[in-house]
C-alpha cells in the first residue's frame, strides 16, 4: 500500500466536507478562469498580430484626427512596403440602432494582399473590386446575422453624414472572428464629397503590409519621419503595439481583475485551511497512533499536505474545466463574440497551468498549519485525548 492510497482514503473519508471544499475551490477557480481567459484573449490578439509584418498608421493625435488619403499613395511607394489599405472606422446604425458589428472603409484592391491570412473566393473578390457599393463580411458574422450573398445592408452614418447602401458580395474567413463588414472606402468618399460636409479624404487609419521578415519597428520610424513635417504628422505602431494600445484602454479593469483574483486566492486558502483544520482535529488520536507506530514527522507532514493539495487540485481542475466550458458558451453568444474572437482552443496556454499551479499552491499553503501541528503532535497527548 502506498501512502497515496491512504491519502486518497482520507480525502474521501468525510465526503460531504471534501465535496464542499472542492466546490468552494471549484467555483472560485471557474471565476478566475473566466477572468484570466478574458485577459488571455488580449495576449493571443497581440501574439497573432506579431505574425504578419504589418504596421498601423494613425494621425499623431489619435483616432479622431484625420489622416489624409494622400498619405496612402506615398506609403505604398516606400521601400519595403508590400501593400497598404485605408482602414476607416464608420460608426453606423443598422436597423435604427448602433450596429453590433464593426464597419470599415477599405481599399478592395489591396485589402486581401495586406491581410494575406484571410481567405475569400476569387470571384467574390472580383465582385468586391468591381461593384462600388459592395461589401464583404466575416463568415461568423454572416452566420449570426443570417446574411447571405446578394443581401442589402443599409447603414446610417453617425460620424459621417453619409448613409451607405451596401450590397453583400463576399464572405471571408480568417483565423479569428473579426466581426467586421468591409466596404469600399472610395464609395464612402464619393458620398462625402457630394454632400460637401468637408470630411472627405480621410483614411482614418492605414494598415501597411511590410516585406516578410523586415524590421517592422524601423518601418514605423521611417513612415513617421516621412510625415513628421506634414500638416498631419503620423504615429505608426506595429500591429501588436496597436492592439496593445486598444487593450490598454481597458485601463484599470485589468489590474482590478488581478486584485480580485488575489483576494479570491487568499479567501480560498482560508476556506481550505479551515476544512483541513477541522479534519485534523477529528483525527488527533489517529495521528498519534501513526507516530507511535513509527511514522516520521516528515511522513505525517507530507500526508496532511498531500491531502489538502489533492482536495485543492481536484477543485481547481473541476473549476478550470467548468470555466473553460463557460468561456466556450460565452464566445458563442453573438454580443460577447467581439470580446472572444478566437475559438477557446486557441486560448489554451501557459496561463491555464498557472491556474492549476494556483490551485495546488492554495492546497499547500492551506495545509501547512494543520500539517505542522499534526507533525509536532506529542504521541502521549494525542493518545490521551481519547481515553
Amino acid at each position: 500500500m502506498k501512502l497515496l492510497k491512504y491519502i486518497w482514503r482520507n480525502v474521501t473519508r468525510n465526503k460531504l466536507r471534501s465535496l464542499l471544499t472542492i466546490m468552494s475551490v471549484g467555483f472560485s477557480l471557474a471565476l478566475m478562469t473566466i477572468l484570466y481567459g478574458f485577459l488571455a484573449v488580449q495576449d493571443v490578439t497581440e501574439r497573432e498580430a506579431n505574425k504578419h509584418d504589418r504596421v498601423v498608421v494613425l494621425n499623431k493625435m489619435g483616432f479622431a484626427a484625420p489622416l489624409p488619403i494622400a498619405h496612402l499613395e506615398k506609403i505604398k511607394k516606400m521601400e519595403g512596403v508590400v501593400s497598404a489599405t485605408p482602414f476607416s472606422w464608420y460608426g453606423g446604425n443598422y436597423e435604427s440602432k448602433r450596429a453590433e458589428f464593426a464597419l470599415f472603409g477599405v481599399d478592395p484592391d489591396t485589402l486581401f494582399d495586406v491581410q494575406a491570412e484571410v481567405n475569400i473566393p476569387e470571384e467574390q473578390l472580383a465582385d468586391f473590386k468591381k461593384i462600388r457599393n459592395a461589401c464583404v463580411v466575416d463568415q461568423q458574422l454572416a452566420e449570426s446575422m443570417e446574411w447571405s450573398i446578394g443581401d442589402r445592408i443599409p447603414v446610417e452614418g453617425t460620424i459621417y453624414q453619409a448613409d451607405l447602401d451596401l450590397k453583400l458580395v463576399g464572405i471571408y474567413k480568417g483565423p479569428s472572428n473579426t466581426g467586421s463588414v468591409y466596404f469600399n472606402w472610395y464609395y464612402l468618399d464619393d458620398l462625402l464629397q457630394a454632400s460637401g460636409t468637408g470630411f472627405s479624404g480621410n483614411a482614418g487609419s492605414i494598415t501597411v503590409k511590410c516585406k516578410v521578415g523586415s524590421e517592422v519597428a524601423l518601418m514605423c520610424d521611417e513612415i513617421d519621419a516621412k510625415f513628421a513635417n506634414s500638416e498631419n504628422a503620423t504615429r505608426t505602431r506595429t500591429e501588436a503595439a496597436f492592439s496593445k494600445m486598444l487593450t490598454d484602454m481597458l485601463g484599470d479593469v485589468q489590474s482590478f481583475i488581478r486584485y480580485i483574483s488575489l483576494a479570491v486566492v487568499f479567501a480560498l486558502s482560508l476556506v481550505t485551511a479551515t476544512a483541513m483544520a477541522m479534519s485534523m482535529r477529528e483525527r488527533t488520536t489517529e495521528v498519534a497512533v501513526l507516530k507511535a507506530i513509527g511514522f516520521s514527522k516528515n511522513r505525517v507532514l507530507s500526508m496532511v499536505l498531500g491531502e489538502s493539495f489533492l482536495i485543492a487540485c481536484l477543485g481547481g481542475l473541476l473549476g478550470i474545466g467548468a470555466g473553460l466550458g463557460l468561456l466556450h458558451l460565452l464566445s458563442s453568444v453573438p454580443a460577447a463574440a467581439i470580446l472572444f474572437p478566437f475559438p477557446i482552443s486557441q486560448l489554451i496556454g501557459p496561463w491555464l497551468f498557472g491556474l492549476i499551479g494556483v490551485a495546488g499552491l492554495i492546497g499547500l499553503v492551506s495545509g501547512l498549519v494543520p500539517a505542522i501541528r499534526a507533525s509536532q503532535l506529542s504521541v502521549i497527548d494525542g493518545l490521551r485525548q481519547v481515553v
Binding site: R17, L20, F27, L31, T158, L270, A275
Partner: protein
C-alpha cells in the same frame, strides 16, 4: 427560543475555525463590494448635471458627442433660440463645443489611452454641475491654454498643472485644474473652442451645442422644432437621456462581469460557510440531543443553527464592509463606449454596502440551512449516545 448567547458561546469555543471562516467570508464580501463599488463609480462618472433643464443638441443618428457634427451656421442659429436661461451676467447659457480625442500616456505606466479634449465656451462651465477651478486659474481664450480635471491631471502625462501638451503641432499649456462634481467632465481636458478647432485646422467646427431652457413648455417646443427640421438633421435630447444612453451601452458589459464575479464568489463562500456549520453540527450531536430531550422543538433547533451561521456570515460581511473604508475615493479609469478614457472614483455608498451585506445574508441563510436540517434530523436517542 434558544438564546443566541448559546450560539455565541459555541462559536467562541471553536474560535479558530470561526475566525478563519469569518475572514474568508469578509474577503469574499470585500471583493464583491469592490466590484459593485467600481460599477457604481463608473455609473457616477457618466452622470451629467442631473439638471433636467439642460438639452444637448447633436447630429441626428449620433449616439455620442464624438461622432456628432453640426454645421457652423446652424450652431450659430442655436445661440439665439427662445427661452434660453441667462447667467448672472445676463449672458445666454448656450455653449457650442467641439469634442476630439487625443492619445496620451498614462503616468508611470507604459500604456496609452484616448483622452477627450473638449473645445468649450464660457457657458460650458455653468452648464456642468458644481464646476470649480480648484488649482491655478481658468483658461484665457485665444492663447492656447488648457484646463484639466484633477483626476486626469493625476493620471495622464501632459495634463498636470503647468505642463505643456502638443495638439496637432500646436503647444497648449495647462493653467488650471477643475472639478465637476464627479460627472463626465472629470474625464476630460478642456480648451477654448476656437483655439482647439484652429489647431485641428477645422476652424468653426462644432460637435454639439449644450443649452439650458428652464421653462418646460419652451423646452419641449424647442426639442420638437429641432427634431422636426428636415434641413438641420439634428436631434435635441435632455442631457439626462443622453448620458443615460451612454451609460447603459458602456457599462452593461462591466455590470455583467461584476455580477458574474459576485455570483461565483458568493456560491463559493456558501460552501465554505456550510462546511463550518456541518462541522459544528457534527461535533455537537449530543448537545443537540440534550436540547431536544429538554423539550426544544425541531424548529427552534433549526432556527438556532441558522442563526449561528448568520452570525458568522454577518460578522464577515461587516468586516468586509470595514475593509473598503480605506479605499474610499480610490480612482480608476476604463474606456467608455467611445474608446475614450473614463475616470471614476470607487463609490462605497449605502447601496453598495447593502448589496454586500445581502450577499453575506444569503451565504449565512443558505450555507446554514442544510447543516441545520441535518441537526434536526438526528434522532434524540441516537444523538445522546454520541461520543
Amino acid at each position: 427560543m434558544i438564546p443566541i448567547k448559546y450560539n455565541i458561546r459555541s462559536l467562541s469555543v471553536r474560535w479558530v475555525t470561526t475566525l478563519l471562516t469569518i475572514i474568508a467570508i469578509a474577503i469574499v464580501v470585500f471583493a464583491s463590494i469592490l466590484t459593485f463599488g467600481m460599477i457604481e463609480g463608473i455609473d457616477n462618472a457618466f452622470k451629467s448635471s442631473g439638471d433636467a433643464d439642460d438639452l444637448i443638441v447633436m447630429r441626428n443618428g449620433s449616439s455620442d458627442e464624438m461622432s456628432s457634427t453640426i454645421a457652423p451656421e446652424v450652431a450659430r442659429d442655436l445661440l439665439t433660440v427662445e427661452g434660453v436661461a441667462t447667467d448672472s451676467d445676463g449672458e445666454p447659457l448656450v455653449a457650442r463645443e467641439f469634442v476630439t480625442i487625443m492619445i496620451s500616456s498614462r503616468r508611470g505606466k507604459d500604456a496609452t489611452a484616448n483622452v477627450i479634449v473638449r473645445g468649450t465656451e464660457k457657458a460650458s462651465r455653468t452648464l456642468r454641475p458644481a464646476f470649480k477651478i480648484i488649482e491655478g486659474r481658468d483658461l484665457e481664450p485665444g492663447v492656447n491654454e488648457l484646463i484639466a480635471s484633477k483626476k486626469m491631471a493625476e493620471r495622464f502625462e501632459g495634463a498636470g498643472l503647468g505642463e505643456v501638451t502638443e495638439i496637432n503641432n500646436v503647444d497648449f499649456k495647462v493653467v488650471g485644474l477643475f472639478e465637476a462634481g464627479g460627472s463626465a467632465a472629470e474625464s476630460e481636458v478642456w480648451a477654448d473652442l476656437r483655439d482647439l478647432t484652429a489647431a485641428q485646422r477645422i476652424e468653426g467646427a462644432v460637435s454639439v451645442v449644450n443649452l439650458r431652457v428652464p421653462d418646460e413648455e419652451k423646452r419641449l417646443a424647442l426639442i420638437d422644432r429641432i427634431k422636426g427640421d428636415e434641413q438641420f438633421k439634428l436631434d435635441a435630447l435632455p442631457e439626462e437621456t443622453y448620458f443615460g444612453n451612454l451609460q447603459s451601452s458602456s457599462s452593461t458589459a462591466l455590470k455583467v462581469i461584476a455580477y458574474i464575479i459576485a455570483f461565483f464568489l458568493t456560491i463559493g463562500a456558501m460552501f465554505a460557510a456550510s462546511n463550518t456549520m456541518y462541522a459544528a453540527v457534527a461535533s455537537r450531536g449530543r448537545e443537540i440531543g440534550t436540547l431536544r430531550a429538554l423539550g426544544f422543538s425541531r424548529r427552534t433547533v433549526l432556527i438556532s443553527f441558522v442563526c449561528e451561521s448568520l452570525v458568522i456570515c454577518l460578522l464577515g460581511g461587516l468586516l468586509g464592509c470595514l475593509m473598503t473604508v480605506p479605499l474610499n475615493g480610490l480612482t480608476g479609469g476604463t474606456q467608455g463606449s467611445t474608446f475614450s478614457e473614463v475616470t471614476f472614483s470607487f463609490s462605497f455608498g449605502p447601496k453598495v454596502l447593502a448589496q454586500g451585506m445581502i450577499l453575506a445574508l444569503a451565504m449565512g441563510l443558505i450555507g446554514g440551512l442544510f447543516p441545520a436540517l441535518r441537526a434536526i434530523r438526528l434522532q434524540v436517542v441516537n444523538a445522546l449516545r454520541q461520543r
